[in-house]
């Protein structure tokens, strides 16, 4: 694929052919890296250096990125700037986009003796350009690439597989339909090799002895069982090289002068950090009252098959008698709920307890509930309007019941009765 792309670009610059291509691949599969590589190789070829004009539409040095150039006018200004034609354009007013672009290319041609200068357009986040109005930038770029006035190559980078469906018909017809797919299709053995290569110091490192020691250490690490387990876990989660990079950087950041070589323990620690469950962490920090509310909601979800509820339901749920038939009955699944059952559950729980400590007023419980809303553990089904009251707004719980149980295990100082209540299901009622 590297050679394919290189060939393509060479043809444009040396032979004056126009072309277009799309590089498609999931996030982190190395599209930008590939392109940069190819461009470097290209620049090294002598013939090319003087001739090629690059317009990188994005941020990096610079590409045209869909992120930055949010509409075509901005994109055009950016192109003008990068081609350093601001002086030429001056104050001219252009009727249409196409004229503007044609003028730019004309200017290039005149500035460079007889032959016209090949221009390479690189568009990063190509899918974002597709959402511009009328896709006029794309249309014009592809149009020029087909009409063989100036040798122009357009390369787009995107992560969407269905990018061709998004193009308009007239744009699609002008596109050469050349696509280069990049997939992370390596297996675990190669993954380990990549790991070793990433971690090793290059040969040009100034301190030779240290580099040698380091690389030996890396070799040891790659054979260590625990390290392999860590890598296997990451590999099964995502083949993306970026996550590997993140993990390695985290492990290497623990290296100091006292601790000069990364060890397996570092990697394990990094992996643990990387893969900690964020929701569980948040649940860990809730107060006991909030935990009780969450457990009440969990019970409601179990009994009512995941229907939305509102605050009032939760509150009452804790004060009704244990042997309440209502909650035992399962309702049909298409009946929407509001929150009173959650509160009902909560009150049920409270009545069971003789503890006066748990006897909270409703507004206090409401404040705890609003805290949960703020943390987005509970989300309202629709935007709160002026009509509905806060207590009766339908909500959904965004936590899974297994997540809740796991979080309860590690919850510090959890009162045992709360734990028991959580574990009890209502099936025996």
């Amino acid at each position: 694929r590297h050679s394919h792309l290189l060939e393509l670009l060479k043809r444009t610059t040396v032979h004056g052919e126009s072309n277009s291509a799309l590089i498609i691949g999931p996030r982190g599969s190395g599209k930008t890296a590939l392109l940069n590589h190819v461009l470097e190789d290209l620049r090294e070829m002598n013939q090319v250096r003087e001739n090629l004009l690059e317009v990188h539409l994005n941020g990096k040095n610079p590409f045209l990125s869909g992120l930055l150039q949010t509409n075509d006018k901005v994109a055009l200004k950016e192109i003008t700037r990068q081609l350093q034609l601001e002086n030429v354009v001056g104050d001219k007013v252009f009727g249409s986009f196409a004229e503007n672009l044609a003028f730019l290319l004309e200017a290039l041609r005149r500035g460079n003796r007889t032959s016209s200068c090949p221009v390479l357009f690189v568009l990063d986040e190509f899918d974002l350009f597709v959402h511009h109005k009328n896709q006029s930038l794309l249309y014009n770029l592809f149009d020029i690439s087909q009409s063989a006035q100036t040798p122009v190559t357009v390369i787009g980078l995107t992560c969407r597989q269905d990018i061709l469906e998004l193009l308009e018909k007239r744009v699609k017809s002008r596109f050469s339909h050349r696509q280069i797919y990049l997939m992370n299709s390596f297996d675990f053995k190669e993954y380990i090799k990549i790991f070793k290569k990433q971690l090793s110091l290059p040969a040009e490192f100034p301190d030779e002895a240290f580099a040698q020691k380091w690389n030996n250490n890396v070799q040891h690490l790659s054979e260590d069982k625990t390290v392999r387990d860590v890598l296997q876990k990451l590999f099964q989660h995502t083949k993306d090289l970026r996550s590997l990079h993140l993990l390695l950087m985290l492990a290497v950041s623990a290296v100091t002068t006292h601790h000069p070589l990364p060890t397996a323990a570092d990697l394990q620690e990094a992996s643990r950090q990387h893969s900690s469950d964020s929701r569980a962490n948040i649940v860990h920090g809730l107060s006991v009252l909030e935990i009780c509310l969450i457990i009440a909601m969990k019970h409601l979800n179990e009994v009512y098959d995941g229907e939305p509820f509102n605050f009032q339901m939760v509150y009452n749920g804790e004060s009704n008698a244990r042997a309440s038939q209502t909650l035992h009955r399962s309702l049909p699944s298409n009946y929407p709920f509001s929150l009173p059952p959650t509160v009902t559950e909560f009150q049920k729980f409270i009545q069971r307890k003789a503890h006066s400590m748990y006897n909270f007023e409703k507004p206090v419980v409401m404040k705890a509930f609003e805290h949960l809303l703020q943390l987005e553990l509970v989300k309202p089904l629709e935007r709160p309007s002026a009509r509905a009251q806060r207590e009766y707004l339908l909500m959904k719980l965004l936590l899974d019941s297994s997540q809740i149980m796991e979080a309860l295990q590690v919850y510090p100082n959890c009162p045992t009765d709360v734990k028991q209540w959580a574990a009890s299901s209502l099936s025996w009622l």
């Binding site: 990096k60 992560c159 623990a254 107060s287 309702l331 206090v364």
Partner: protein, 424 residues
Amino acid sequence: MPNLAHPAYPSAELLHLESLVPCRESQVSMLLSIFGERQHFSFPSIFIYGHTSSGKTYVMQTLLTTLQLPHVFVNCVEHFTSRLLLEEILIQLQSCSSGTEQTSPVHCDTLNDFVRLFKQTLASQELQDQTVYIVLDRAEQLREMEANILPAFLRLQELTDRNVTVILLSEIVWELFRPSIGCFEPFTMYFPDYSIGHLQKILSQNHPPEYSADFYAAYINILLGVFYMVCRDLKELRHLAALNFSKYCEPVVRGEANERDTRKLWKNIEPHLKKAMQTVYLREISSSQWERLQRDGGEPGQLKGLSAHTHMELPYYSKFLLIAAYLASYNPVRTDKRFFLKHHGKIRKTNFMKKHEKTSNHLLGPKPFPLDRLLAILYSIVDNRVAPTANIFSQVLMNLVLMYCLPHLLEMESRQPQMQTFTL
């Protein structure tokens, strides 16, 4: 707790830093190891999440200012549009390394301009390749801005090709941030919540100098015992501690007990704290009112929160109107015929009703009803014949407006009638 040690920074500064951030040493040391030395490239973006008042903003600010790393600190709630945000970053960047406040006005509309201006500004500062940190607080607001802001900030290092790291602080977990087409994943870091021991340690640091540390520690113990179940928010607890301390010291001041008489002090303060939970904690009364109450020695029973104004004498028809509104909002329409007409037929229970009998309507909340229905029910409730005079209508209007505008004050049995908006 291990001392913070890092070769790049002088140890005196690190010691000072450690004293400023109790109970957060491990997070700070992790951050230091990620930042590395001043010129090192770090992660392009770091996402820090944790509970309310778990110290994220405070630690970041203290860390960056104590070690004097070049940084820009922006709150996304304060600068809630993209233009405000970008301009603020550029303005702060201008005064970054020079330390003086010479700022020239900056006009920046889009991210494209931002990147260009950013590179220009950075070049004009003599930063010698040090990492610049851009800290965005309350980052969940970034989701509400234009769709390209968040992904662009995550990739800022790549887009500008400079040594910059973007740090996002938020309470909400990363999974809820991720845009649907994916983005550059930041390094996520969790600031764990404070345990009860930590809370005690931090709160005890604020003791006023007149009393001993032990005395204050005992007070904090009592306070935590009452409030820990409900709330673990450090700011709230600190507020409560400051407000109630004078009441706690009263017996000592009056000479009835000395500092060690824990039982007496507890008996004095406990009902007070319980009352505080219902009022100041809920912000029903302001803290100045609370303090005034404490000074005057009023009984806790005299406290009137906002929701305590429940008894209002309403005119004759208004009372009936209120009852009619209550009935209208909680009874389903088909039962009206049965209740309010003299001769009604039998109501057959349909299948639908059988299924949904048990769910009390009280749980589902009040429902909207049209004005005619309200009037119809009113006419059938009131004993004598109600003439539809202007008097009635004006009372209706005035009372409706009253009731509609002030539903919180009329919180009788926690029902609030809802009415459809009608044009007059």
